[in-house]
Symmetry: C2
Subunit: 728 residues, 2 copies
């Protein structure tokens, strides 16, 4: 498969073609690698990694990384931001002073907190994960033994879509021509800024102050075609355009970004600061009296990123480009020095710099017939200071990936795909609203007093910052009612307007009151529980790895109460019948937990219970591995990591429990009574595909197997000597 610019063609028929290998594209490829989907991912850029492009990682993004097993890598390498210091002009002197401190991440909303890390490292984690997982999941697929590889220097040149095939599950309605560039062609020009005698990377070529270079690349390759511009044709079932704000895919589809830009221009410097400003290692929002604002973002490797306001007046007419020739590291630093007075700041090492103009835009459509999708900057652009860009982009693809994979794998029907636009376009709209308000507050001049109506109230700014922090964490996302979110209300109002409910007779509504803090539509919160079999504490989210599996979580309550145990036994019987959804929707050649994983958390005294108190379907049998010891958990105090108090924190009754359905992306689909098998059955019937031979599957539960196996063990005679004693 093509890895380097100009190398051999890849497979010409793929399940998924991804255009763009930034955070959104890599997240999509990552899902595909987990789910064994034949995928190619191409990017017009060469393999060179650039400085800059750091971004905050929200706590929700770290939760997602952790579900893909590389959360710890980001956590260890990144700089952690703990506190935000607000600096404002003193009312009398006008000199800036620290007026407030607030936690950067709201305590207790996640087991992670916001951190900052170079985007190149994040891409590295994705590349490692994609390679490792796709080699495992695709190893038996002819032509795909080497797994999924990111192909750099590969540019799509034409796109055809056969609409008549859109609803034909097995069809390849998408045809794309790909052109392979040479490494030289694929490397964008950078301004060769020289500072203190050494070359310096700038990011203006990616900034919205510069124009798109796709056409330029295309023109160049036409000229050079004889030399390197080889073309191939690829047919795909699904396609993702994750190719940035100037998205070629979006342009091909004729979709538009809608919104406006302001005339506020900001500069960015990544430096090792030399300063006497005492909060340089804190995240700071600094409003000067009349010289504009600075945001300080402390980074890894002693670096600090400064977002520095370069213009202090807003021109409502808007739209003109600023005078780029005056923007350089020296002029940006001078602005920072002016704003930070009387503190002094300079640097000897600058890692990167850029400038941008604030604007907010959102795409009018996120998909063509649920076959070609757009994600990331291709459908939303905004200012970088809130640290949202990379996070929301990755979360777009995190939302889409499992849906496409389950349709390609034949476990779900296509009805779930509409929820991508419904869920994520709504988020994009919320994001640009947030960014609009936040940017205005940040770029405005501080009010001199309460009568100064043109100025920004610093109290209002603080409140907005605190509220914005919850939004920015990513954990406040609340998806609306749909075929995969069983809550009441109008799905079009709760989403972006798209109709995403299924057949009315299959609609299920949750009983939210049974688990007040497991909110339907939001991601499953995490508290610690112990594994029943080995007493090890786990954050509940750690059990919810992103592998494409739905989870049925049974909060079994106190199973020492006979009535409750009877409920669990009856549920076990229904779940293990050959007509159950577990059986019908799981392909007969797949492992018992490949489509659904049944997890339980009980609240009986741990030391009085073993896994054998539960029906076998709760700890399934495998002929080679014996019982599964990793499905049953308990709400108990740990020896070393405190008490998760999960039932109380989830708002679940400790005696009666409840049942929960979680989507493969950890979002809550349904909450109901612990033994409400019928609602589960109805919910999954809404979009799942019955598997040929599924009903004939034997031993999902395996108690037959267990008794057969265990009974076959002949015990040796009591006193038989196996090895003579040494004295013998």
């Amino acid at each position: 498969m093509a890895q380097e610019a100009g190398s051999a063609d890849g497979p010409s028929e793929v399940d998924v073609l991804i255009v763009g290998a930034g955070p959104a594209g890599l997240m999509m490829a990552n899902w595909m690698s987990r789910c064994g989907i034949r995928t190619r991912i191409v990017d017009k850029r060469g393999t060179k990694i650039y400085n800059g492009q750091a971004d905050g990682l929200q706590c929700r993004t770290l939760e997602i990384f952790d579900s893909f097993d590389f959360g710890h890598r980001a956590w260890i390498e990144s700089n952690h931001m703990l506190e935000i210091c607000l600096w404002n002009p003193d009312a009398k002197t006008g000199i800036i002073h620290r007026s407030d401190r607030i936690p950067d991440t709201i305590p207790n909303i996640s087991r992670f907190q916001q951190v900052v890390l170079h985007q190149g490292r994040i891409e590295r984690f994705f590349l490692d994960s994609i390679s490792e997982n796709s080699k495992r999941t695709l190893k038996d697929v002819p032509g795909w033994e080497d797994g999924i590889k990111v192909e750099h220097g590969v540019l799509p040149t034409s796109l055809e879509f056969d609409e008549t095939l859109a609803e034909n599950t097995d069809a390849y309605p998408i045809t794309v021509k790909l052109r392979h560039l040479s490494e030289e062609e694929a490397t964008p020009k950078q301004s060769a800024t020289s500072l203190n005698g050494s070359g310096l990377q700038d990011g203006l070529f990616r900034s919205n102050l510069s124009s798109d270079d796709t056409q330029e690349l295309l023109d160049k390759t036409k000229l050079l075609q004889a030399k390197a511009g080889r073309e191939e044709t690829v047919k795909a079932k699904y396609m993702l355009g994750a190719d940035g704000a100037h998205s070629w895919v979006r342009n091909q589809l004729g979709f538009k970004l809608q919104g406006e830009s302001t005339d506020y221009i900001w500069g960015v410097l990544d430096i090792v600061p030399i300063t006497d400003f005492p909060d340089i290692r804190m995240r700071c929002a600094i409003h000067s009296e009349s010289s504009g604002s600075v945001m300080v973002i402390p980074r890894e490797n002693k670096l600090v990123r400064l977002y520095i306001q370069l213009t202090t007046t807003e021109n409502a007419g808007g739209g003109q480009k600023a005078d780029r020739s005056k923007i350089n590291p020296e002029s940006i630093l001078a602005s920072a020095q002016r704003i930070l007075r009387p503190y002094k700041i300079t640097y000897r090492y600058c890692d990167w710099w850029t400038a941008y103009q604030i604007g907010q835009r959102v795409g009018d459509s996120f998909s063509l017939k649920e076959r070609i999708f757009l994600a990331g900057d291709a459908v939303h652009t905004h200012s970088p200071k809130a640290g949202q860009g990379m996070n929301v982009s990755m979360q777009d693809a995190f939302n889409l990936g499992w849906k496409v994979a389950s349709v390609v794998n034949g476990t779900s029907n296509r009805s779930i795909l509409k929820t991508y636009q419904s869920e994520r376009r709504r988020i994009a709209q919320d994001l640009i609203d947030f960014d609009h308000r936040f940017s205005r507050l940040f770029s405005g001049r501080p009010a001199k007093d309460v009568l100064d109506e043109e100025g920004i109230s610093m109290d209002e700014f603080k409140r907005a910052f605190e509220k914005g922090n919850l939004f920015a964490s990513g954990v406040a996302v609340d998806y609306g009612a749909s075929i995969v979110v069983a809550k009441s209300g109008d799905s079009t109002k709760q989403g972006d307007g798209t109709e995403v409910l299924g057949a009315e007779k299959l609609r299920v509504i949750s009983n939210q009151g049974l688990a007040a803090e497991i909110k339907v539509g939001m991601r499953m919160p995490s508290f610690k529980v112990l594994n029943q079999a080995d007493a090890r504490p786990w954050h509940f989210q750690e059990l919810l790895k992103s592998n494409g599996t739905w989870r049925v979580v049974v909060f079994a309550g106190n199973i020492k109460i006979p009535d409750q145990m009877a409920k669990i036994n009856r549920l076990g019987e229904k779940l293990s019948s050959s007509a159950s959804f577990l059986t019908r929707f799981t392909p007969p050649n797949k492992r018992y937990d490949s489509v659904f994983e049944l997890l339980s958390v009980h609240s009986a005294p741990r030391q009085e219970v073993t896994i054998f108190d539960f029906p076998p379907v709760f700890h399934p049998w495998d002929d080679n591995d014996g019982w599964d010891y990793w499905k049953i958990f308990v709400d108990d105090v740990s020896y070393h990591e405190g008490y998760g108090d999960a039932y109380n924190n989830y708002g679940v009754n400790k005696e009666k429990g409840c049942a929960v359905i979680l989507r493969p992306d950890q979002y809550v689909s349904w909450v109901g009574e612990v033994d409400d098998y019928e609602s589960m059955e109805k919910f999954f019937s809404g979009f799942m595909v019955e598997q040929p031979g599924g009903r004939d599957r034997v031993g999902v539960n395996g108690w037959e197997g267990m008794s057969r196996e265990i009974n076959s063990i002949a015990l040796p005679a009591t006193d038989e000597a196996v090895v003579g004693t040494a004295a013998a």
Copy 2:
């Protein structure tokens, strides 16, 4: 440098030659890689990795791994053991039942708990660490640009030692001939056990039931010499024999292992168990009524290790080898089945098996003239069940490594090297005493009642287990008084008998009462503190990376109290004078924190303090990086990770504080008054080497530099436009 058997010779002059690339040898090489010491490490075995050889990792070992930046790798991949279940015969029926549960690791003794992981993975962590760090530290040393590589299939054949050069620091008194084997020669024969039709690795070749194969390897290579047995000669300043229980190095030195063996024979099975025994994922100690004992050690990848007693009577005469021909997986399993009755157990997959005879031996000497050292199994052998072997072996080398490195690097004189034997031989003696008692209790028949004097009391067993757990954790290690441990008492009695005090006039005695829980001679305990500059919480031990640096930790107390601040200012003045130990003992071309790192933890309100309240020596200046923001910490509540309450937990007065000296291996050397500069000076003068030019070092503290640099920043005029507004 030679990496593969039979490849080119490595450098012929080295600082350190290590024989044996097991855990002890790798730990030594790892230290050398951190400290930039020219080191070769050879092992007679080939590169093939074997199954089995798992071992528990104590919490102290994980702390050490973390100090080398790979603790998280072991933590993530390993199986965590949380609880020990004791199973004993019921007094009436004789049937085994769970009689007790105890935590596997005593709560609150460490931030880690005992885990189990395949030795091959641990060796991988070491190899990665050695490679990465030695490439960094040796990159400018001619001939060593590629760093340190483990050379497999390389066997020492002769050893000469020139005693007249022993005390000459720069001399190479050691001459060793190395023979390079072919891969085939270097691969030991394994029993080709076949089970269920598939080949199966056994570990008998490494067991003490089999004899040493070194002579066999030597004979073979002599025969094959024309083909592959190439020889080279290496001269070394220092040498470590970490070559196992049959140590060739020990034999060359004429040193002996002293002790005895019992006739208890145990089998070991690593299997994926198929069983109805409910505690198979717990660590279990199971005493059957009369069929012997089993210890269950749950491992990673669904594996469980069973230690299974094969003989039930002890023969005091001892020494005969058991009938090996009767020992095989089937016979070992049959013993396990007999002991576990009425529970059933079998398996389809066996990963590895072996058998061994219990014995305890310790070396009579750990070094020849403090030039050639022995570590690990070469100087102590015992039974594996307590999970001590690999841990104590690695900790031998962890104790030795920084001492050798600081002598080779010229920062310390040779007097500190004697403390290796004093400290570690004492530990080895304690270990075999512990193992002797523990093995006897574990191998004995349970007492039927209080009158059964030949049987083992299960209450006594439980108490021994609990007490043993503290010993086994590794955190109870308490090194005696010496030139590097400033405590009172007789150093020969506190160690193994070796005299390790320096000149009496330089002896310093700690004031232990100033920090009751920072015990001189023991490792520094860890509680969370916050970085003053960015509010990030750190476990204090995380700040104590193993890089060869001594730490002076100033618990500065409440610096908002003027008298206390005055003390800190006076201490700062002394520390930053050109006559201070910081200055005199740090080479002028090295960074300010290369020999000593000055860390402080204060107890004043965090929000009322900045790092600029401290004298500059506490947050040193660098011309390129500005101030150092990673040296000053505070005892404060964190936003997300609770409250370390460090002063209270360390037993330090919150107003007055104290000062602490920590060795490069995290062990506490000294505790004294916060401003007792004179004791610090005296302590370090006992063994440190004055550096030529050290006194002329300028700007350790850098306040001159800071004012020069900061004052040179010209502030721009208030209203100067840097970039025109977009409207301009």
